[in-house]
């Protein structure tokens, strides 16, 4: 099991998120970035397309991220990292080039350059910090907003469903794709470390509940992240060379009866306050379909 391999004493004590950064209270991106630093240490260089993480760093001359941070235009995260990784390799510099992008920078405006880098097999780690909407510009929907969720551009609830980005990236036949959650730091850190050992394009999709955008109390970020996994709304898994594996605790949740009711997850979030019974059904169907696809894949591999 992944969790057994790590011990808190083995993690670096160095701070990779500085006090005084500009994030909102309860921000999941600072939690995730801290774990990124703990996992990869000083060998990491980050490339950050437009989004919350560009702002969280704070105002010059202060800098909230404790790793080199190359900010870049919205659509160019993966392409910029590709060039940087090639240059560093050429110069014999041992580095982990990491794209730290939001859901917009990954699934929408950045999808083309992400696909290009994945297809070319660039030696980078791409982390999508998914807070399920354009939070930096004020909570507008993205293609990773779940069905029925309120945003400032979906006042009657998001009519779409969440785009299956991890599967889209996995379909590029890259060596490593994983999902993670800021509610499960050990899992995320272990996956980052595993990715760092693999040569080629690695993708980690980090679920990151946002108190401001999802309308919940800033003290509940971790709890809601965990509830997403426990209710099955977010699933932890990894594709290693195309082979799918469920990770704890999601590996115990294939049976729907083991999952907490989805209502426990959504009732804490203002964005679902006015969800209609019909929309709630669609949301549940989406989640069921995700699980069904996983079940089908595991069965095809002979693991079920």
């Amino acid at each position: 099991m992944i969790e057994m391999a790590l011990n808190i004493k083995s993690l670096p004590k160095k701070k990779y998120v500085m006090p005084g950064h500009a994030a909102c209270p309860g921000c999941p991106e600072t939690i995730g970035f801290r774990h990124l630093g703990m996992a990869l240490g000083d060998k990491a260089v980050t490339v950050i397309p437009a989004g919350c993480s560009a702002v969280i760093q704070g105002l010059w001359p202060k800098q909230g991220w404790g790793l080199p941070a190359l900010n870049i235009v919205f659509a160019a995260g993966a392409a910029t990292a590709s060039g940087l990784a090639r240059a560093l390799e050429r110069r014999g510099v041992d580095a982990h080039v990491v794209v730290w992008a939001g859901d917009g920078g990954t699934a929408d405006i950045g999808l083309q350059s992400l696909s290009g880098a994945a297809e070319r097999g660039e030696n980078i780690i791409y982390v999508c910090v998914d807070n399920e909407a354009y939070m930096n510009t004020g909570i507008q929907r993205s293609s990773l907003t779940p069905h029925g969720a309120w945003t400032t551009t979906t006042h009657r609830g998001n009519p779409g469903t969440k785009k299956p980005i991890p599967q889209i990236v996995a379909a590029h036949r890259v060596p490593y794709v994983a999902t993670a959650s800021i509610g499960y730091p050990w899992d995320f850190i272990a996956k980052l470390r595993k990715a760092a050992k693999i040569r080629g394009f690695k993708y980690i999709h980090l679920h990151a509940p946002c108190p401001v955008g999802w309308r919940f109390d800033a003290g509940l970020t971790g709890k809601i992240a965990k509830l997403a996994v426990e209710t099955g709304a977010w699933i932890l898994y990894e594709y290693e060379n195309g082979k799918l594996k469920l990770n704890p605790p999601s590996n115990r949740l294939l049976d729907p009866s083991k999952r907490k009711p989805i209502e426990e997850y959504i009732k804490l979030q203002g964005r679902f306050r006015n969800i209609s019974p019909e929309s709630l059904e669609v949301l549940k169907r989406d989640i069921d379909r995700n699980w069904e696809e996983i079940r089908t894949a595991l069965r095809a591999q002979g693991d079920l």
């Binding site: 760093q57 900010n71 590709s82 940087l84 110069r91």
Partner: protein
Amino acid sequence: MANSIPKPQWQVTGQLIPMRGNDAVAYAVKLARVEFVAAYPITPQTIIVEKIDEMISHGELEADMMHVESEHSALAATYGAAIGGVRAFTATSSHGLAYMYEVLWWVAGSRIPVVMAIVARAIGPPWNIHVEHSDVMVTRETGWLVSVAENNQEALDLTILMFRVTEDPRVYLPGIIGLDGFILSHTVEPVDVPPQEVIDEFLPPRRQPYVFEPGRLVAMGNLMPDEIFEEHRIDMHYSLASASRVIKEAGREYAKLTGRDYSNLTECYRCSDADYLIAGTGSWMGDAKIAVDLLREKGLKFGALRLRWIRPFPWDEVREVGLNKKLVVILDRSISFGYAGQLFIELSSALEAKPSIVGVPAGIGGLDISYSDIAYIGEEAVRLLEEKGRIYIPVLWYHLGGFKSLPPSRQIETTRRAQFLSIDIESIGEDENR
């Protein structure tokens, strides 16, 4: 003195090879020992990247070539490599440039040296792959150095020069070499390829203001207070404006090594005793020189002022040669819709509109303009001047052998004519102002 510059000597220091303009750029990339190239194909730029790929495949160039999925990624990846500490190059045209436009700003604002070739081509619609300067001209505001070649030799020389100038600590900005689509890019001319030792002597190892790598806590591009942002922009402006000095210095040294003189930002042909000037940039200025000879045979003392550099703008040289002329005819292969050609706007302000000035957009969409067209334009401009005493015409559009006079003051007529043109294509050639 700008108007006493000798014509660059055609001295052969290396190997004289017949090649297309795009090949010349590729040879320059090789001589500059570029380490990283990312590009996306677009006509007429394609030969550059094909040739570079061929050089890499044959072991003539030790570089990394990244085949990206778009121009946006091409410049972003080139920038990523450059910021990671290697000499990097890309090339594009027209829509490719338009697609990567925001990245141009990012590269320049980062003060990271990168060199890019733009093979000049019209921007659609309708689709048109032929020469025009609209793409080169939209880069003027981005903080890049911008040069435009007259011939294939210059395409090679300017590319090498551009690496040297952009990587100079007094500049630290990216740079563009423009060359005319097809007229240069696909046309074979003999080009002197200098020996590698000569270029190694001319071009020091890469320098850049900072490098992104592990352990160096650098942040690039995060938010800045507005007053610091403005200071940063002021510094960009002065670095670019004063790059003239660095260009001249490098150009003089290049002349010593190769016999080809790049110590000026402009070239002026038969300017010193001229009454009238034809000014412009790009390959057709070669035709303009022939036109000058023809006009002088008719007793009209013309000279040809060619802008080899658009940014930094060659303010001193233009004023020195142009302020006391009777008439300056400015050829533009692009138009800022609703006003005039870009070079008209820039040159007439530098010349304080002291000479009579006529702006002549022509050759748009690749329409062929020969030396006889340019001679005719010059002759007509002088005729207008003599008729009226003084003239200042922003747009005297030369189209299929005649003029379309469309100054901004005639907006209503312009609109009506545009409507008219859209329904009756046959009457485009009619010339009611002649």
